[in-house]
């Protein structure tokens, strides 16, 4: 069995190094929603330092939706998402709200009978389910990503299993990774697996769809100062040191606004509660804009709940 944690660099520390500085609170959507220190990385790290049992954290450990915003701001470099994922793994009873364990397992059985995909190009594209629900946008993305193959197995079941803390059979993971190993570049439309892919596929360059598209001159030139550009936060935070420079450069050339806070952390548009629109409202508060440009259709769905402004996918501007 593969370990379900999202492994980070060796220098990452565990909960015992948490100094209680509270910097993670400033960026965490759980905190914005609850204003309760238990719903924060700090709250969990401190609870673990007190040897609190995982059962006593069951209310809070599923509230993290792995946006990764806390990771770049933590001065102790604590591997926060793995901390949550490991806690979820330890919990015997998984809440039904996050998905049905049996249905994921059934999918694995079904998946095992499918032939392994063959990819003919050196560049592959993993499109998340939100994007797949919009075939015309997906088609436009593929037109822009020349010589790139859309990978049919997008690993959504793996993502769901990781969210729930369900262990993934190594055969399933191998089936997912095998065709990807030959690639030179793998583009992801959503960054939940970004760090894992970097580790599982050390020879493959992992890139976010947003980064790849904004490097295209015909996309770049269509962004303007009255746009609010929504960066897909998981990939951005997973590759923060590199991508913060990329988007900063973009800002300096096209002058559009971004969903970045003053620490240059991407503000997620959602929190764990899909009915709570505070995150999306906060992204928009006080902005003088005419159009919203998104990298991810999940962000588009969240923002549609709170604004009448036009929202377009980056590939279609």
């Amino acid at each position: 069995m593969f370990k379900v944690t999202r492994n980070f660099r060796q220098t990452h520390q565990n909960y015992s190094h948490c100094s209680g500085c509270s910097l993670c609170l400033l960026v965490c959507p759980m905190w914005r929603q609850h204003h309760d220190s238990r719903f924060t990385p700090q709250g969990h790290a401190k609870a673990l330092q007190q040897a609190v049992k995982v059962e006593e954290l069951s209310e809070t450990i599923f509230a993290c939706h792995a946006c990764g915003a806390c990771q770049p701001v933590c001065p102790e470099n604590i591997a926060i998402i793995p901390m949550f994922m490991n806690l979820r793994q330890q919990l015997a009873e998984k809440p039904a709200a996050l998905g049905n364990v049996a249905s994921i397992q059934a999918k694995w059985l079904e998946n095992a009978t499918q032939p392994i995909e063959k990819i003919k190009t050196s560049s592959g594209f993993l499109a998340d389910n939100h994007l797949r629900q919009h075939p015309e946008i997906l088609q436009q993305v593929l037109t822009l990503l020349v010589k790139t193959t859309l990978i049919s197995d997008n690993g959504e079941d793996i993502i769901q299993a990781m969210h729930m803390g369900v262990e993934i059979p190594s055969a399933r993971l191998e089936r997912f990774l095998h065709p990807l190993r030959k690639l030179k570049q793998l583009i992801v439309s959503e960054g939940f697996l970004y760090t894992n892919l970097q580790q599982w596929l050390p020879k493959v360059k992992i890139r976010s769809l947003g980064e790849v598209l904004t490097r295209l001159p015909n996309i770049h030139s269509k962004l303007c100062a009255t746009d609010l550009y929504i960066i897909e936060c998981r990939a951005y935070h997973a590759d923060f040191e590199r991508l913060v420079k990329h988007y900063d450069q973009l800002r300096k050339t096209v002058f559009c606004q971004f969903n970045l806070d003053l620490q240059r952390i991407a503000i997620p548009t959602t929190s764990d509660n899909i009915h709570d629109h505070r995150q999306a409202k906060w992204v928009l508060e006080g902005r003088q804009i005419e159009r919203i440009v998104v990298e991810s259709m999940a962000d588009s769905a969240a923002l549609q709940q709170v604004t009448d402004l036009p929202i377009v996918h980056l590939a279609t501007i």
Binding site: S19, L23, L26, S37, Q50, V52, P75, R264
Partner: protein, 518 residues
Amino acid sequence: MDIPVIEIGTLPPDPVAPDALQGIKRQQTNPSRWQGENWQAFITKLATYAIEIRQDLASCGIFVTDAGGVAYGMPHGVLIARNVEQIATLFKTAQTYRIPITVRGGGLTTEGESVAYGGILLDMTGMSQVLYIDTEKCIVRTQAGIFWHSLAEVLRRRGMDYLSAPLNLTASVGGTLGVGGIDVNSARFGCSADQAISLQVVTPTGEIVECSDTENIELFKRVILGYGQFGVITEATLKIRPFTPLRMHYFYYGSLRNTIEDLILLDKNAVCDYSGILTMMDKAITLLVAFDSEEKEQKFQQQWKNRLRGYGELGFTLRSAVYYAFHFWKLKEAWFLFNRKRCLFPELQRSEYMQDKQMFDRTVVFSRAVWNFWGGRQMIIPDLATNVDKFVTVVEKANKVCQKYFPYYALYCVGIKLHPEHQEHYELSCIPPDATELAYGCEFEPMLNHEIYSRDYIQSFKNEIYDIGVENQCSYYRFGGMMKGYIRRVFGDELVDKHLAMKRQADPNMILNRNVIF
């Protein structure tokens, strides 16, 4: 001898003479510590008002210590502040049942002032909403549990900024107004507490009172810089201003005295908008000078720059290279300085926070640097505050203490403009009593570099620094909590007793923040 039982909140004369014979029963002369009496009845009563106190380990354990990481205490229960009525009810009930309450904002104290040794921990961060912004009158009304950085995030969407706040993203508004708040623009604006126009306060007996320079004046005087003794700040109206990025200049010195003299020269003549000193031991000393406007910057370049004795980066590097070439036995120190510079300087100039040589978001830049380079699970930051005349001498003395205890350390010095109309706020606070117009503060921060030091060692270091404060009639920025012992020594009985009497009147059972001052 009959020793009467002491009621909480009373302090009778010490019945044990200094020359008392051995064997005489000794007695605690402070109000007796609370031992958990009435807790269950108190919780039950609060439940009737639908106030939920969390008593589980996961909730209480978050608050076992503060940023100092030296003082540890476990509250019996935690209440997340949600609204002013809830806090008022909490206090009324707590007075009846005599339950101690410790208020906590960001918990960035280092002497345990925001640590609850039993009783209730009131977590103010639950009240973090900005209530309104008036960009024309340049004021904001906010709940007081908000972190300064979260307030800045909201203000910046309107092109505004706060006047001054600690260079630390997670200090709260309420916690800062209660202790002072020093920024690199304090020589211009005063301490952060000076930007408060009015406050909503819950008194220790549970009244909700609005106070300002014109309304409930006495309470306002006591709550500002009052170390949370006279009430809980629940809302604050603050001055704000249009946001401007900083035009930054750094000058490098090898002499502490020269740097401090130059800093005072600039501050006294109001040459710049931001100023401060940050050092690596007393070897590489940086004078930071910054401006809001191009005009002021140009004036500085023309009239003042040449009068400063500091070097540019290249000049200082060459000078240091020559120094260490002749002091080769100090190569380890040179190596440390070189590495520190290599890591720290790029952090201070990260391109995403800079544009056209101007620094955006100074607090983000400096707070990141503070936590990444000095932060950790234990932070030792004793400090001294003096009037202008004594400052150099006091810093030099304390620098020797740093040298004695630690191979590597940093000093951080800033000026604080005093507002004559706030003179009464400053009584028994971090502002030294003998300062007029300008005061100065210096923090002494050892770099622990994963070395393990015993508590005794750390405490001896702090005591030696604090003793310099007593000798030189200074004040301290952090004088609560474990530093209680210094308060009478430095301010004298008369002043402390005056405040104690006021405290007893305001808080009959001494329930609010009882471990901080008295």
